[in-house]
């Protein structure tokens, strides 16, 4: 089941200078805090001059698609899924 969402979300992220990579560590959605166990993929795209970084992450049995707007450094939750058929 997939839920398309578009809501601001709080994210704790880290940057590792050794591998020059950033990744979300945890996110707060609703009243729950989810720690990120795996980053499946990070990709980027441009909307005009604004670059967006999209992190596809998993926390236990839930998948989250997180979008970082590099213009205003805001995070948006775009999708939540449990990986099961609709």
């Amino acid at each position: 089941m997939i839920h398309k969402i578009s809501e601001p979300i709080s994210v704790i992220a880290s940057y590792n200078s050794d591998i020059r990579a950033a990744r979300p560590l945890s996110l707060k959605w609703g009243h729950h805090e989810y720690s990120v166990s795996q980053v499946g993929l990070r990709h980027t795209y441009r909307d005009g001059i604004t670059r967006h970084h999209v992190f596809s992450v998993v926390s236990n049995s839930l998948f989250f698609r997180l979008n970082l707007n590099t213009d205003n450094l805001s995070w948006t939750l775009e999708e939540v899924s449990d990986g099961l058929p609709d």
């Binding site: 997939i2 795996q38 993929l41 990709h43 005009g48 998993v58 899924s81 990986g83 058929p85």
Partner: protein, 433 residues
């Protein structure tokens, strides 16, 4: 100059006579004496297995080892663009609609295509492969080909590439690698064992491989070419291989017969890059539409093609419009002028004029289900138009509009003719080259 329209992609394929002559010169002489190319195989063809679906499974680990289909739209009629390896086991194929796929596999998970994701993975692949060759050719979004310098061992390099893909791009991404002495056979080799395959076709095993494959396994032998071969009694690949060059020339009624004779013997004749000759956009309408409904969508297709045309620094002197109707008939027409067009308005006006002047019968209720627009006759935008004052202004306006859209995002400013097309013609990745 010969040209033909590719109705699937809406692009114009042009082959110059000059290029064809060049290819012919590459053919070895005394064709009747040719044996299989004795050189060491050094052409690598790399194919990302079930590309779009694998990238989705890479992004979302909860989808791994499950039947997944990447679809154009998750509506029941949405076209399946790419089934995962697991979905293929259920008989799901590209081109089916989602409802058909779910009938075969009720557990099928559909995900709408996400082109930026696939482009990013494609770019990462290209960067990785550039470490092995300075002449990596991208054949499509999921295929690359390059020739390996002779000092490297193809088997070791292939192993290294597979390992680096897992560690640097994605641990769930699998590629099939084929190695041979020409591009066609390398591609064939890459498809012998999917997923995660590795095969070599060379002078030692080519006959063995030919006995296990079908004619249509060759890229370029479609159902029509296969029928041509059947007409002269060629039903198997070994028969295809042993047929004389004279017979093949008569089968294909062109130089293609010579090309296939040479390809089957492992010689390279496909390492030719054709210059871009056209820019096109096509769109299958979500439902059949009347002219008043599809006009804004045509305007958007024209705008997209024109944007790409200008970004590449070209103007176009010709346009082509193709319409497919719900009764399975189609209409198409092209027009070439002495003027060069580069702006949306001129190109759209030309397209609409073409339609109004050339469509003689417009039965009431005849609805369109597919539109393809192509502009061709490309010329470099060298500023010669600027001697006319109004054209200078027009060019400046178009340039300003492009800058606004570059800064604030596509379609921030559009022509009024596009009103009503907002949810149509989304970003997509074309199949093929």
């Amino acid at each position: 100059m010969a040209y033909q329209i590719n109705y699937f992609t809406g692009s114009l394929l042009v082959r110059c006579d000059q290029n064809q002559e060049d290819l012919t010169k590459k053919l070895p002489e005394n064709n009747s004496q040719i044996v299989f190319n004795p050189s060491a195989p050094n052409i690598l063809h790399i194919d990302l297995n079930s590309c779009f679906a694998s990238v989705e499974q890479q992004a979302n680990p909860l989808l791994r080892n499950k039947p997944v289909a990447v679809v154009h739209s998750d509506a029941p009629y949405g076209c399946i663009l790419a089934p995962s390896v697991e979905a293929k086991l259920w008989g799901i194929k590209t081109g089916m609609n989602l409802a058909e796929g779910k009938k075969l596999c009720p557990w099928l998970i559909a995900r709408e295509a996400d082109p930026p994701k696939y482009r990013e993975v494609h770019a990462k692949f290209a960067r990785l492969l550039n470490d092995y060759s300075d002449h990596v050719i991208s054949k499509s979004i999921d295929e690359f080909v390059f020739s390996l310098p002779s000092k490297f061992n193809p088997a070791e390099v292939s192993k290294d590439i597979k390992s680096r893909i897992k560690s640097e791009i994605g641990d769930y991404l699998r590629v099939s690698i084929g190695v041979s002495t020409n591009q066609i056979l390398a591609k064939l080799a890459s498809g012998l064992h999917k997923p995660d395959g590795f095969d070599i076709i060379d002078k030692n095993n080519f006959l063995e491989v030919y006995q296990t494959i079908k004619l249509q396994d060759f890229c370029g032998i479609n159902i029509r070419n296969e029928a041509r071969l059947h007409r002269v009694g060629i039903f198997t690949v070994p028969q295809f291989y042993s047929t004389s060059i004279q017979t093949l020339t008569s089968v294909f009624e062109s130089v293609l017969g010579r090309y296939w004779y040479t390809r089957l013997r492992g010689y390279e004749i496909d390492d030719v890059q054709f210059a871009r000759r056209s820019f096109g956009q096509s769109y299958v309408l979500p439902r059949p539409m009347q002219e008043t409904e599809w006009r804004p969508i045509l305007a958007k297709l024209v705008a997209k093609a024109a944007r790409r045309l200008r970004a590449a620094g070209f103007s176009a002197s010709g346009i082509h419009l193709y319409l497919r109707y719900t009764d399975h008939t189609s209409w198409h027409s092209g027009h070439n002028t002495s003027n060069l067009f580069y702006d949306d308005a001129s190109l759209l006006t030309s397209a609409l004029n073409l339609y109004s002047n050339r469509v003689t019968s417009k039965p009431v209720g005849r609805r369109v289900k597919k539109i393809a627009f192509t502009c061709f006759g490309l010329g470099e935008d060298n500023g010669q138009l600027s001697c006319l004052r109004d054209l200078v202004k027009q060019k400046s306006l178009v340039s300003s509009l492009d800058k606004i859209n570059d800064k604030w995002g596509e379609y921030s400013v559009t022509y009024g003719s596009m009103l009503g097309s907002k949810n149509h013609v989304r970003d997509a990745i074309a199949f093929g080259k």
